[in-house]
């Protein structure tokens, strides 16, 4: 989000405005009131006597509410107004805006306040692509107390109702003629409602509609229910609390599905994303395990069942992205849902196992046996597109499918060392790691819950075979590193990237190769001082402000830190956690999805990535996973074990009230200068 923007959100309803509270959408300024992937207001500009008021201050008090303190301008460079205007906006199904005008002088004032309104009903894809080509008809009408801005295309109808009982209404906005007495005040309230011809969309909206009190209760509840973190590093505490609140804000109720799961990120990704929801749920397991339960259920219910080239759907595949805007409704985009993801399917299996390890909820593992088996079949069958034993991807939908179907899904992310792009299909290294891990984990599930020892043995055999081949085929002896990918011609894509850190997490790396991987990760070429860059400095495609070719992604680093811990590199893991958590301070303790890859010693502060989403679910989840990693929290049988390795910023770290199959325990860790017996999990005292 742009620093000049103010955003408030509630699930997939959000408003992006300037610091006055005005909405003025343009191709370069993605302002608007967005609901269900549609922009219901593209213009909402307030004037007093024809002039825009000056900004005194603004605050996004709650994630769903913002206040703007304004002074009607005198037209000069000085703000010397005897009037002030408070504008408060609260999200509803649309939003409610309260306006209070105050006269601080001893003479009466007559003024005209106007709000100019317009709605382009752009699909979010049109906003992203800055290309608006509406095929339906717009209309406007004035009702007794409200202005209707509407759009119709066949049976698809979307309307914005601007309800302003005290105003005079015309087709382009509402006007108030106000007389303010000396030291007097005047106030009014407008409501912006969104209306949809889809009964299910409407119903979904009503179900998720919460009152202000309910929302505040939800935040209070989220903070109260989440384990309590205590530490002598105040920045970490603030980042943790911000994460818990943002996770509550990002809750999204998908259409035709039970429950809620985290949407991926504001503003572009307020939708169900298989990969993002899975990773976020995994990051949050020690803190909010119920996220994983819903994510697994929703994704299982929408698992692919057929080969559908348009949607890149295949039997057993887990979805990539689901949208409910106009372009999806008319199949101009394949997101109903779209399945172009090579990693969501193994990640689904990994989360299923990890969820059971933490919660002991074997019932869910039994309920999802069929979807899990179908996902495992996909790994062997459709996932292995090149028939070489590796998961690879090549879009079936050449028109609007994704070129890259790994987490680095921008067009230029899979490049050779000389900067040229890899051919298709592409088998990315981290996806092979996930596939290995998924099979190993599902072997445990097959043995323990599905009572199928023969299947478990087959899975372990396939995993072992994959590990052996992978360490041979992806290893680049001359660079002492794993290749980013193998392309359609069987060539190693030889750039050095952060993907190798995910390999450590999955456990696919042979122990003799792990030190080389770690050396790369911690080298100045990959490690910026804040975190591991997505691509190493010096590679042909490297760009410190390239989305997936040089920026630093907090979620990526949280997975790398977990991987380093798995292979015993605790100091390195703590160094990465510390770097990213220190960076959080510069982002008001809310980590963005990515920031620039400039070296820390050069800039002294982390440089914003221009169009990063914030809040973004897996960036929000990153601090949670870092806390788990720093404390070395691991479920082992019915116990939670603690083996802390803390960075110099803190002497101690404690998480109180970690729920799981062990009941509720407190986990305490101290720096290694203190004897290790201080690290422990202990039953939480009954309150």
């Amino acid at each position: 989000m742009n620093a000049d923007s103010v955003a408030i959100l509630e699930g997939n309803t959000f408003v992006v405005s300037d610091r006055r509270g005005d909405i003025e959408a343009s191709p370069a300024t993605p302002h608007g009131l967005f609901v269900d992937d549609t922009r219901f207001l593209s213009r909402w500009v307030l004037t007093v006597d024809g002039r825009r008021p000056a900004i005194l201050s603004f605050d996004d008090v709650e994630y769903f509410e913002a206040q703007f303190f304004l002074a009607p301008g005198s037209g000069t460079v000085y703000i010397d107004s005897a009037l002030s205007l408070m504008r408060k906006r609260t999200l509803a199904r649309g939003f409610i805006e309260s306006l209070i005008l105050a006269n601080h002088s001893s003479t009466p004032v007559d003024l005209e306040m106007r709000i100019q309104a317009d709605a382009d009903f752009a699909d979010l894809f049109e906003v992203k692509d800055a290309l608006l080509q509406k095929k339906g008809k717009s209309y406007r009408r004035i009702e007794s107390d409200h202005l209707v801005l509407g759009y119709r295309r066949e049976e698809y109808v979307r309307e914005t109702w601007i309800v302003a009982p005290d105003a005079s209404i015309d087709e382009s906005g509402v006007t108030y003629r106000v007389r303010l007495q000396p030291h007097g005040e005047w106030s009014t309230q407008l409501e912006v409602r969104v209306v949809s011809s889809s009964e299910a969309v409407r119903r979904g909206a009503t179900d998720r509609l919460a009152t202000r009190e309910e929302r505040q209760k939800r935040v209070t509840h989220a903070l109260a229910e989440a384990p309590r973190v205590l530490t002598d590093w105040p920045d970490l505490l603030q980042t943790y609390q911000r994460s818990i609140v943002d996770l509550a804000a990002l809750r999204y109720f998908p259409l035709l599905a039970p429950g809620w799961l985290p949407a991926a990120g504001l503003p572009w990704f307020m939708a169900v994303f298989g990969r993002d929801s899975l990773i976020t749920s995994l990051q949050a397991l020690p803190f909010a395990p119920s996220l994983a339960d819903t994510t697994l259920r929703v994704l299982a219910a929408r698992q692919g069942t057929r080969v559908d080239a348009f949607r890149d759907e295949e039997p057993g595949k887990i979805l990539h992205e689901s949208r409910i805007g106009e372009m999806t409704a008319f199949a101009e985009r394949p997101h109903s849902p779209y399945f172009g993801s090579a990693d969501a399917t193994p990640l689904f299996l990994i989360l299923l196992d990890e969820y059971e390890l933490w919660t002991g909820d074997g019932d869910l593992v039994r309920q999802l046996e069929q979807p899990a088996r179908a996902a495992l079949e996909w790994l062997d069958d459709y996932g292995d597109r090149m028939r070489n034993g590796y998961i690879s991807y090549q879009r079936r939908n050449e028109e609007s499918g994704l070129e890259n179907q790994c987490w680095k899904d921008s067009w230029n992310s899979i490049a050779f060392r000389d900067g040229s792009l890899a051919g298709v299909p592409r088998a990315c290294c981290e996806v092979q790691g996930y596939a290995y891990d998924a099979r190993m984990r599902c072997a445990r599930l097959a043995r323990t819950f599905w009572k199928d020892a023969a299947f478990a043995a087959r899975l372990e055999e396939r995993a072992g075979d994959l590990k052996e081949r992978f360490n041979r085929d992806f290893w680049m002896p001359e660079r002492e590193c794993f290749a980013l990918a193998i392309d359609g011609e069987g060539r190693q894509v030889d750039s050095i990237t952060s993907n190798i850190g995910h390999l450590l997490w999955s456990g696919i790396v042979d122990t003799d190769k792990a030190p080389h991987v770690v050396q790369h990760l911690m080298s100045d070429l990959l490690f910026s001082g804040w975190g591991v860059r997505t691509m190493a400095e010096g590679e042909g495609a490297y760009n410190p402000i390239g989305y997936h070719v040089g920026t630093v992604w907090p979620h990526d680093n949280s997975i790398i830190a977990l991987g380093l811990t798995r292979y015993g590199y605790r100091d390195e893991s703590a160094r990465i956690a510390s770097g990213i958590l220190q960076a959080a301070r510069y982002f008001k303790h809310r980590l963005p999805e990515a920031f620039a890859g400039y070296a820390r010693q050069r800039t002294q502060f982390p440089v914003e990535y221009p169009t990063a989403c914030s809040p973004q679910a897996w960036a929000t989840g990153a601090p949670l996973l870092f806390i788990r990693t720093l404390l070395g929290l691991e479920p082992r049988g019915d116990r939670l074990t603690v083996d802390a390795s803390l960075p110099p910023e803190m002497e101690w770290l404690e998480v109180r009230g970690v729920r799981g199959r062990w009941g509720v325990v407190d986990a305490v860790g101290r720096r290694s200068t203190v004897p290790p017996h201080h690290d422990k999990a202990r039953p939480a005292p009954k309150s």
């Binding site: 969309v201 259409l255 599905a257 949607r311 805007g325 409704a329 008319f330 199949a331 069929q370």
Partner: protein
């Protein structure tokens, strides 16, 4: 013969007999096809059965369907054939399909769509 109207759609559904991908599902979808009639499709652990409610008198006090879908006949045909990439989701977002009852159960219907035409069902 490809599915071309409501009757042929439900005949094609009835021919499915058993659908292994619905082995964990029990429930009923009632289709209210505007100006044509109503059909009930029941699934019991994968076994599918179709009842034409305009021909079969429903007993008083019969249980409400798990999900009821209201749509026009042309939308049903488009959905059944997957024309212009239509699926349950796109129909619902446009407002061409109205769903009452359990939304998540409605979603399972997509498992058996689009329907094969008569020719491909026989081959």
């Amino acid at each position: 013969m490809p599915v071309g109207n409501a009757r042929t759609c439900f005949e094609a559904l009835a021919r499915r007999g058993h659908e292994p991908r619905l082995a964990d599902v029990v429930g009923t979808w009632e289709f209210d096809i505007q100006d044509v009639g109503t059909w009930t499709v029941a699934v019991d652990h994968g076994a599918l059965s179709v009842t034409d409610n305009t021909r079969t008198r429903t007993a008083d006090g019969a249980r409400a369907p798990t999900t009821r879908l209201r749509l026009r006949e042309d939308e049903l045909v488009r959905l059944a054939r997957g024309d212009r990439h239509e699926n349950l989701f796109t129909g619902v977002i446009r407002g061409a399909i109205v769903i009452e009852g359990e939304l998540a159960f409605a979603q399972r219907l997509q498992t058996i769509l689009p329907l094969p035409d008569e020719q491909s069902a026989q081959t």
